[in-house]
Amino acid sequence: MDALKLRKHIVETIRVCETSLPNDVKNALRRAYEEESRELSKKILGILRENMEIAEKERRPICQDTGTLTFYVKRGGWSEEELRKAVNEAVKEASGEIPLRPNAIDFASGRNPGNNTGRLIPWIVWEPGGESLEITVVAKGGGSEVVSSLKVLPATAGRKEIFQTVLESVAQAGARPCPPIILGVGIGPSSEIALDLAKRAVYLRPLGIRHENKVIAQMEEDLLKTVNMLDIGVHGFGGITALDIHIEYASIHPSSMAVGVVASCWALRRAILKVHGNSASIISHSISLTS
């Protein structure tokens, strides 16, 4: 596949990411609507569903905050330089075409170039492995980002302290991250590892899939139940607070355990482009891209 075609496919993946939710998120929202019993919360969940349908049909962004774009890339034989160029150009093109809200502002000059690119942005994370090229696009809005939190606990802390840290973070966030949220918890020896794992926990594992380690999987189940007992609900009107919670962990240090908590709003936007030879598909949405 040539670079031009790849760029077009990335633009299309960004469009799909911004205008339709992946199947796992759609299903979780459908279930939430069926289970929700509070009148106002159910009414709003119904509108979110309607919104999803309009956005997908008319190819309009689901949310006006089209977020900061992050790309997790398995290179599959392409060079970093080629891919960085393709991604940057695709983001510029998508910003005008879809269109996206100009969300990348240069802090030093205060200038907004208007095309969602700038210093280090879009953010690209190079992932190991992958015989073929695989690009995961994630769009994260500001409302759910301002409530991210990090706490470094002593290594003697256990399940109880982790639960308390998460509960405090979610209660503090309240209605701001647009619940029902999807929550990622990262546990590791240091701050940046914990937050990176928390973000991966939210975005890279599909909803409804439990951690492969049984202890962690059980913690996820229990934490989900506990967080939902906070009863924040849609816009704070009570009811379902979290659609799912994922925990990722790394070995900790003998004296410190960092706990990162990252939330996504109900509109978790993720799309995965897979390129194999000359064929490409957006596997998160079961869309085949013909050339």
């Binding site: 709003i44 969300n103 647009c178 704070g236």
Partner: protein, 196 residues
């Protein structure tokens, strides 16, 4: 018992006074977007504003637009977190005599006082329902400070049809729907922190 209302701007005082927290509104007529830096620019130029904002509704929003023919069209629009405007909202309601403010997430005591003193309301719109809400925008009547502030923060003057559901979160008596919600969540939190 919560009620549903369909109202037209400019809103009259008796229409605003009738509203209670939890009521659901659908508004037709004129609204304008305003957030962060927009508010201070509007206040600074209040004597030479091209339109009167009295009786209209301030919408905390930063839309996505695209150019169409010689003008603009709204692609996606939805509420932004209102609390960022809490510090300036009292002055804004007092000076601009808006009928109400809509956004998401709730406001604080300054806005509550303004709603009480100047008979206004604060309402919330569903967040992340921007494609749905864009269908309620009939057209863009004007845009101000676009060069200076950029698309999300410029003041967009909009003609809307049945914009809603807007849930009244602060009414003109100063009742705040989030009081009971905050109490409930903080009660649950203290109990759960013990139990886990």
């Amino acid at each position: 018992m919560t009620k549903e209302y369909r109202l037209k701007t400019p809103l009259k005082k008796d229409e605003i006074i009738r509203l209670n927290v939890g009521d659901v509104l659908y508004v037709s007529g004129e609204v304008f977007t305003s957030r962060d830096r927009t508010q201070s620019l509007i206040l600074k130029s209040r004597d030479k504003l091209p339109i009167s904002l009295q009786g209209l509704i301030e919408f905390h929003a930063g839309p996505i637009v695209r150019s169409k023919n010689s003008g603009w069209e709204v692609v996606s629009i939805g509420p932004t977190t209102s609390f960022r405007m809490e510090n300036s909202e009292y002055d804004f309601i007092r000076e601009m005599r808006v009928a109400g403010v809509i956004g998401k997430g709730g406001m604080g005591s300054k806005t509550r006082n303004a709603c009480k003193e100047f008979k206004a309301f604060y309402g919330i719109l569903p967040g992340g329902a921007a494609a749905f809400l864009s269908k309620k925008i009939e057209r863009i009547l004007g845009v101000y400070w676009l060069e200076e502030l950029g698309v999300p923060e410029a003041m967009w003057h909009l003609k809307v049809q049945d914009l809603g559901p807007i849930i009244v979160a602060i009414d003109s008596l100063g009742n705040d729907i989030y009081d009971s919600l905050r109490e409930r969540v903080s009660g649950n939190l203290s109990r759960l922190l013990q139990e886990v």
